[in-house]
Structure formats: C-alpha cells, structure tokens
Amino acid sequence: MALVTVDGLSFSYPSAPAALRDVSLTLEPGEVVALLGPSGSGKSTLLRALAGLVPHFHGGRFVGRVVVAGLDTRRARPAQLAGTVATVFQDPEDQVVMTIVANEVAFGLENIGVAPSEIWTRVERALESVDALHLWGRKTTELSGGELQRVCLASALALEPRLLLLDEPTSQLDPEAAALFLAAVERLGAAVVLSEHRVPRALDLATRVFFVDGGRVLLDAPSDEAVEWLSVERPHYARACVNQTQATAGAVVAELHGVSYSYRQAMPVLDGIDLELRRGEIVALEGPNGSGKTTLARIAAGLVEPQAGTVELRGRAGYLSQDPGRYLVKETAIAEVALAVNGDEQRAGAALDRVGLGWAAGRHPRDLSSGERERLALASVAVAEPDLLILDEPTRGLDPEWKATLGDWLQEYAASGRSVLLATHDRDLPAHRRIGLRLDQTHASSEVHVGV
C-alpha cells in the first residue's frame, strides 16, 4: 500500500497565482525521491502539502486530496502528522526552538510522546549520525549556519519518521558533512522526498525523480530514465556546466599577510593566513564548516579587523553575505539594488535584469522566493561593480540554470579587470585558484593550495 497518495492537488496561496496545478503522485514506503525544478516552481509548496502545512498553516485555495500514512491532510493537522512525517526546512535559523542543542533535538520527541527513558538515547544517536555529537551542550545561538543545519537534520532523524521531507538540507554543509547526512538518511529506511539544487547529490541517493515546473510535475520517472530526460530537456540539471576560462591575472587588488582571528580566547579560527587577490581572477576559498571561510572573506572585505596581521585593499570591495535575508532593507526590489549606487534606478534596473528579476522591480523584496532573494542580494552588491567582489555561499537557493548563469557572469566580471573571491562548498562554480582552509588540532585554519 502506498505511503503517500496525492490526487489532483491544486493549491494557491491567498491572493497569489497557483503554486501547484493538478499534481497526482504516489510514494511507496522506503522510496527516495529527488524533487527537482527551478526556483519558485512549487517544490517547497509540494513538500508543505505532504506535511499538511498546506493548507492548515498557510491557508489558500486547496483542491484535491493528500493522504499520508492513511491520514487525509485536510482533516489531520500537521502536528498530528509529526513523527510519521518529519520536515527540514530551508533556513535552519528559522526553525530552532530551544536554546541548547540536545534539548532542540529532544523537542520533537517530547511533542510526539516518545517514552522519557528513550529520549536521550535517540537524541545521542541522531546527533552522532550527522557528526554533531560534540555540539550536544552548545547554545543554538552560537552555532554556525552549517552546524545549525546539522542540528536541524538530527532533530528530524531523531523522530525516525516514515516520511522525511527535506528542503535543500545540505545547502550549508561541506561535502563530507553532506555525504554523511545523506548516508544517515539512506540508513533510516524511510520514504524521502529530497528537494535539492545540487543535483548530483540528490541523484546519487534517489531511486526516482520528480521534476516540477510552473506548479506541475513534468517528470515522474526512475533515476536512470530521469537522467536521460534531464540531459535532453534540462541539460544544466544533468551535468555541472563549468565553462572555465583562463585567468589573465593583473595587478594585486588585496593582500592579506599573517591574518589571525578568534571569536573565543584560545580558540583561533584563522591563524597566520596569507592571501593575495589579483585583478582578472576568481579565487575560491574552500574548507569544512567552521574552518573560517566566512571570517576570512569578511576580513578581506574590510568588514572585520584581523586580530593579527595586515590587510591591504587597493580598490573598493563589495561583500555578499550568505544570508540573503540581510538584503531586504528597502520597500521595493529596485530601491534595494539602487541603495549601493546612490539611488540610480537605471543601473539598478540593469542589474535586476541581469539576475532575471526585471519583472520584480516594483515588488517588495520579502515577496520573493528564497532563490529570487539570493539573486536580488547578488544584484544589490554587484551593481556598484566593486574592484573586489566577495561572495559568501552565493549558490544557496540557486537552481542549476541560474548557477550556470552566475558562473558565466563571474568569469565576465573577472575578465573585465576586477577580482572575485568566493567562499563556497560548491565546486560547480568556476575558479582560477582554489584555496583550502583546513582545521588543524588547535581548531585554527591553515592554508593549503588545492589546485586550479
């Protein structure tokens, strides 16, 4: 018997066009499905419908039927489905309830009435499965984005659900942590719907693929068939398209010597790092979660003073934070972008067009989807054409087509005599140099050249 049956589901959020149109599908127990599609195509809404959050939490116009483990979601509230269904949302920062990590993982178990004697054992097991046992007593407010994402994943795994819904669960994880998590998901044996823009990651795990666009399921096929379909219909999803060009490295735009930084005494994040950035090149900073990529990027941008060492900037730097929510200051998208160019709406309009958001110029930035917000943030920083453009995890929430566009644009940007510094886990972006930050035994990062 199918674990999930979706029959003729159409849904519109209040005062909005249809987000899902006549979706019908079934899901068997233990089946792992990759849910692919462009930003704003309805993937997150479909996940919410499977969790019962649509229509109960969001309201709107709901037509059709969703049955999960024998429960009709029109009658069963999401809280009743919890335990049978577990969801990990896109933004880990917005789903943490408790102050201490172990209590956060225990929160869901307490809610669904797990026997008290079992709770700590399950918390421990779940944290261990995502390599986060060392975070047990840490405060959730003090964790990095990647660490927080692992805690959210552990919270879902601890519930041992029959249906696990994952909305870009590895967007902030380094490759090792992502592989570890996906292995834990596989071991769980639950049915999984994995919405993920890093397609190879999803296809490695999935036995079946749904491709959604415009609220419709365009493809529902086994993985091997899906790969063929994608290579014809959506080639960016079938393979990473890195059209790497050669760098013509010019004058130095930023020079960092012996840079050290620590957030807590005796726990340095960076220790004696040297970095030279030249015009015409794209440099990628790589390394595991917590290795100091963001800190080094902020220091290079002049936003943070290093505690030791020197930073010399020969030009203007622009910095894109990894949280696109920080670029929602103005009332319209065009005003948001124009902020960096003294209100010049012509330049702002051109920048919006470049990221495919020309249509959203008059819209409130908060009305945009997460992928659209990421593009808006990018336009907001790049519009001023800084000599050194620093991007921290710029592909978070970007679908493969936009990621390829971003890659091409970054190469054009560097070729125009400017420099780009990326702090990223994503190897699909082009880079002329890749610099690895690795954690040593003192938890400080040291630099290692990892290739061109």
Binding site: A51, L53, H56, F57, R77, P78, A79, Q80, A82, G83, V85, A86, T87, F89, D91, E93, D94, Q95, V96, V97, M98, T99, I100, N103, A106, F107, G108, L109, E110, N111, I112, G113, V114, P116, S117, I119, W120, V123, T141, S155, A301, L303, R316, G318, Y319, L320, S321, D323, G325, R326, Y327, L328, V329, L339, A340, R366, S380, V381, A384, I390
Partner: protein, 233 residues
C-alpha cells in the same frame, strides 16, 4: 542551581525591590543582581546592562521634574510649566527618584540575569502544564540577542555594499526591516513548531536531574526575601 529555583529567586529579588521603601535595601538588591549579571560573558551582557542601567538613570534624572513633593528642602527652584507644574527639585523628590531608579535597575538586572544565565530549556521543561506559556516567554527572551544579531548583520550587509551608515538616523533606517524580519522569522518558527508536533496531546518530558538541597534552599530564600521586604522593610 536548577533554573526553576534560580528564576524564583530572581523574581523574589525583583518583587522585594518593589515592595520595600528602604533605599539601602533596594540598593543592596540592585548591587547583588549586578554582581550576578557580571558572571555572564562580557560580549553578551553589554546590551542588557546598558538597557537596565540607562533606563534607571533616565528615571533618576527625569522624575524630580515630573513628580512634585511639597516636603523636604528645596535644592533648586525652577520655572512653573503648564501641565507639569513647578520644576522645583527637593530632597524628597531626589530620594524618591533614587528609590524608583534603583527599583527599576533591580528589576532590569533581575531580567538580565534570567536572560543571560538561566537554562531556559529546563525552565520550559519544568513548567508542567504551563509549558506553552513558558516556551513563549523563553522565545521572547531570545528575541533580544536575535534582534541584536540581525541588526549587526543588516548593518554589515549595508556596509558590504559600500554604503555608510552614519549617526542614529542612518541606523534608524534599519529599524523597519529589523521588525519585518523578526515577524517573518516568527511565522517561519511557528510553522516549524507545528510540523514538529507542538500543541499535540500526549506530550512527554526528557528526564532531567532532580532538585538538589541548594535548589530547595533557594526556594525558601525566595519566599523569605519577599516576606521580609513586605513585612519589615
């Protein structure tokens, strides 16, 4: 100490400060609470101490002008303002201003100690049938550091675009997005909580360490503190 008795003790200190009319007693309570707050990490306690101490200072400076007393010696004779009356400052008004400022400081510092040093998760767990209310209070408490972090993030993102934020007016432009952001976060959090079974019947509790003798003594001390303040001070 367990967070339940510690919260009771802090609440008792705040209540005692409101009940007593003895300036020295309120000052002593405020000093003790300040000492407790100083045990919190320096980078976290700043905003709370600033809030508690500046509001107390504000009360001390303004209240002699806003409240008149015919008693005491006149220290300064000011003009008479419509609605507010004479702006004289007397020794009684100064004494009352100091008392009220210290009361406010004690309350603010008690809240700061609660926010900075207590394990709110265990408070929620210990709340029994009032778990929902306790969780709401714990989440509201976390609003202060999360707003502070968001404000710093917004300001940094603006600076990262090459835009300079100057003066109070520059930072004030971030107020509206800060509020909108926190509302959006609250909605997302509510959704995540519902998806994780919050509000369902049959809730259980993860086992916690039992109360120690110190915890019981703290509860007794809390009761004694309120009684002494109400009856003898």
């Amino acid at each position: 100490m367990s967070p339940g008795p510690a919260a009771a003790l802090l609440a008792a200190a705040g209540t005692a400060a409101m009940l007593t009319d003895q300036l020295w007693a309120v000052a002593l309570l405020a000093l003790v609470l300040l000492g407790v707050c100083l045990r919190a990490p320096a980078e976290r306690r700043g905003v709370y101490l600033f809030g508690a101490l500046t509001s107390a200072l504000g009360v001390f400076i303004l209240s002699p002008f806003l409240w008149s007393s015919p008693d005491g010696t006149i220290l300064w004779q000011g003009p008479t303002i419509p609605v507010l009356g004479p702006l004289d400052v007397t020794t009684t008004e100064i004494w009352e201003a100091a008392l009220n400022a210290l009361r406010l400081a004690a309350l603010g510092l008690a809240f700061a100690a609660y926010a900075l040093l207590l394990d709110h998760d265990r408070l929620v767990a210990a709340a029994g049938k009032a778990r929902r209310s306790a969780l709401a209070v714990a989440l509201a408490t976390r609003l202060v550091p999360s707003l502070e972090r968001d404000a710093m993030g917004l300001a940094e993102a603006v600076r990262g675009r090459g835009v300079r934020l100057e003066g109070a007016r520059g930072y004030a432009t971030l107020l509206s997005p800060l509020v909108a952001g926190s509302l959006e976060r609250a909605t997302n959090l509510a959704e995540a909580m519902e998806a994780r079974g919050f509000g369902r019947s049959g809730v259980t509790r993860a086992p916690r360490p039992p109360w120690s003798t110190r915890d019981r003594l703290a509860l007794v001390l809390a009761v004694v503190l309120v009684l002494v303040a109400a009856l003898w001070l």
